[in-house]
Symmetry: C2
Subunit: 120 residues, 2 copies
């Protein structure tokens, strides 16, 4: 979230959870617009249950991502009264995602290198 606009992409060991949440959300949104609840379901499905978002974690993150302009939220006012907010990736979000992927790649490389194992 607080990454510098420019500069080398990094995934700080100190913010792994946060950065991971961010990367996963951006990646899911790269495939097309989703609303929050949908994102949680899809993450769980795609990871076969390994990853999941707590709702109490998910919504605040989405709000923050929207606030900093990485995603855009639009309330769907369909015929139905069910309120849903559709999120989509902004240009900035797309850029950040690409950078995050690079950063995670290098994180894993470093991690397994220190651990003394081949990167799988």
């Amino acid at each position: 979230m607080n990454q510098p606009a420019n500069g080398p992409p990094t995934v700080e060991i100190q913010n792994l959870s946060r950065d991971c949440h961010e990367a996963l959300l951006l990646a899911l949104l790269a495939a097309g617009p989703h609303h929050g609840y949908q994102l949680a379901l899809e993450l769980e499905q795609k990871s076969e249950g390994a990853f999941r978002f707590n709702h109490g974690t998910l919504y605040p993150i989405l709000h923050k991502l929207e606030q900093v302009g990485l995603i855009r939220g639009d309330w769907l006012d369909e015929q139905t009264k069910r309120k849903r907010k559709s999120y989509s990736l902004t240009e900035a979000g797309r850029t950040r995602l690409a950078r995050q992927i690079e950063a995670w790649r290098s994180f894993f490389f470093n991690f397994f290198s220190v651990i003394g194992e081949e990167t799988p």
Copy 2:
């Protein structure tokens, strides 16, 4: 830290930083006893500056790992008055490390699978 003694190895997305710190420390100690300051230096060297421990983070973690029996700390009372505490991996620590490595491997796969990129 709060992993169940048995059961499937997992790296929870919610505790990535903590688990990462733990895994790195255990891995460094697997190579032989180190004291805290040494661990910080070695991590920085081995990762070529990518990873580092803040002292304010490192010592509390070491204390906790010792407390739960994953590592053992021995004060070195050499001739010198410089106080150093040598940490070494316990049997439990060695087991946990092996499990953590497996867990990180699977995390790694899941992550890139959701991200939609080939695992590097």
